[in-house]
Symmetry: C2
Subunit: 308 residues, 2 copies
């Protein structure tokens, strides 16, 4: 990291009990005694794919770089510990951009008690790239995995889906508190966060669990953003299609045994609603049903990085 | 990470006792019981600044992405534990490139018993970007920091310097074993790895330690690559200048109390030579002296990312 930038950052970082040594040396040093299991995750965001600096304040980009990783920790029911960041900055305006990225991410780090441990700041003749790597603590209840869903389990989701491109893709709240509370109080068989799209992410969960699933499409909570998007001219997709396919909702998708699911839905222990949107079945594959209508195949739509 | 790529990677990853859960879920899960302190470091490499794919096999780029981070762990005297990688791949040819990057880094990971825990694989319409984040275990002897050098300490280096651009910048051996052995057997006051250049990195060590240093330029071990580079037409720099300024040597730079330094130099406990290149002094600043000649200021030359 560049010296001036390190000095700027050191002034702004609150003391954190985990940090024996913060930014400025060859590596950070973290106190890990008492941490038996860690979750480790990384995400990379690029200009042009994940954001357009012409359209979005760099502070929201910085915040998002942390938030998507916090959402991955939530998906494992892990408590945030520490983060390191790496950025490739365009040479022109890079310094200002670096400060703005950090101004956006520091408040979120503080909110979730995440230690900013260090980073790597590079310049180049290319567009902005930012990656964050997060370390989280697995609780005594163990990690929440994608495998473990059983036939008969209910499909439970937090919040509502679709239309995140209208702004929620940057300003969403990672479901850290929700995941920790649910994993602590209820028996969860499997879980993940919805980043690429409800249907495609569900297809990954059923594959890892070697089961199938039926989604009751009439029960999928549709976000107001999905309705707004569908109302736009030439959109050509229904709000329900947006909910199933848009992605970047960063809500939790859980497999919960039926009795636990009933208890959870009765208690509604979160500030955000919990909804039952269908069930897992023994037969592999993804199906959808509208109310009491016939079963139809559900083709996973959503975002996938493609390369050849 | 893309599903097909995860499947390919899972087949190639050796089992590792640290990994409760490897690539493919929302995060990796690491067994950390018994690890009291961790080093955490990240480095980002970009096409055009750190390598040119037109000139270098992508396997060497993948290897380097790990090796520079292993060198940072060596700089802290930390034992490698686990890594996560994030790549932004050009859309055209991205799949082949991803496989080659991993083919280059997997053998190095195995050599240093480093668990490849996961990663993020993205495609975009830009040049290749690769980042690696490494977790290391601080030993019972504690971390090796940049601060701690005292007036009177000797400046000790491993190996030889300069001309790494001729190929060593990719194929260097991170000084993991050397750092662990030295930190275990000798009292080291401070240390770091030389990545940006011997003089500029020494200037950082003296600043963090609030001391100064005198480099005996005639004692700096000059790599054969530095001599080769200086012989090239129009180079205009001496081998010694290359040694002090080129960077990417990834050797260790240590502050060692005089008695320990003598013992270390007598014993030469490494396969690579240890050399005394000068001493730390109370007066801040960097000085150089050729044999018994006069003291001259040493202007730190070396690589710094610049942005405006």
């Amino acid at each position: 990291m560049e010296q001036q930038f390190i000095a700027w950052l050191r002034e702004r970082l609150p003391a954190h009990p985990l940090l024996r040594l913060g930014p400025g040396d060859d590596a950070a040093v973290l106190r890990m005694a008492g941490v038996d299991e860690c979750a480790l995750t990384v995400d990379l965001l690029t200009e042009g794919v994940d954001f357009l600096l012409a359209e979005v304040d760099p502070r929201r980009v910085g915040r998002k770089a942390l938030a998507v990783n916090l959402s991955d920790l939530a998906a494992m029911a892990a408590r945030p510990l520490a983060a390191v960041l790496a950025v490739a900055l365009p040479r022109q305006g890079g310094r200002r951009l670096a400060l703005q990225l950090y101004e956006g991410l520091l408040p979120l780090a503080e909110k979730y008690d995440l230690a900013i441990a260090g980073g790597d700041t590079n310049s180049w003749d290319g567009p902005l790239v930012i990656t964050a790597t997060l370390l989280g603590q697995i609780t005594a209840r163990g990690p929440l995995l994608r495998r473990g869903a059983a036939a008969g389990d209910r499909i439970i989701v937090t919040g509502a889906f679709g239309g995140s491109i209208l702004g929620r893709q940057f300003d969403f709240e990672p479901r850290i508190h929700e995941a920790l509370l649910l994993n602590d109080r209820y028996e969860l068989h499997a879980g993940m966060d919805v980043s690429d799209g409800l249907a495609i992410d569900l297809s990954r969960l059923v594959r890892e669990s070697a089961v199938g699933a039926i989604v009751q499409t009439d029960r999928v909570p549709i976000h107001e953003d999905a309705r707004r998007l569908a109302r736009q001219d030439n959109d050509g997709r229904t709000p329900g299609e947006h909910a199933l396919g848009d992605g970047e909702d960063f809500e939790l998708l859980l497999a919960v045994p039926p009795g636990e699911a009933r208890r959870m839905l009765d208690q509604q222990p979160l500030e955000v609603p919990l909804t039952d949107i269908g069930q897992f079945i023994a037969q592999p594959g993804l199906w959808q049903r509208e109310a009491d209508g016939p079963l139809q195949p559900l083709t996973p739509s959503g975002w996938e990085h493609t390369f050849t």
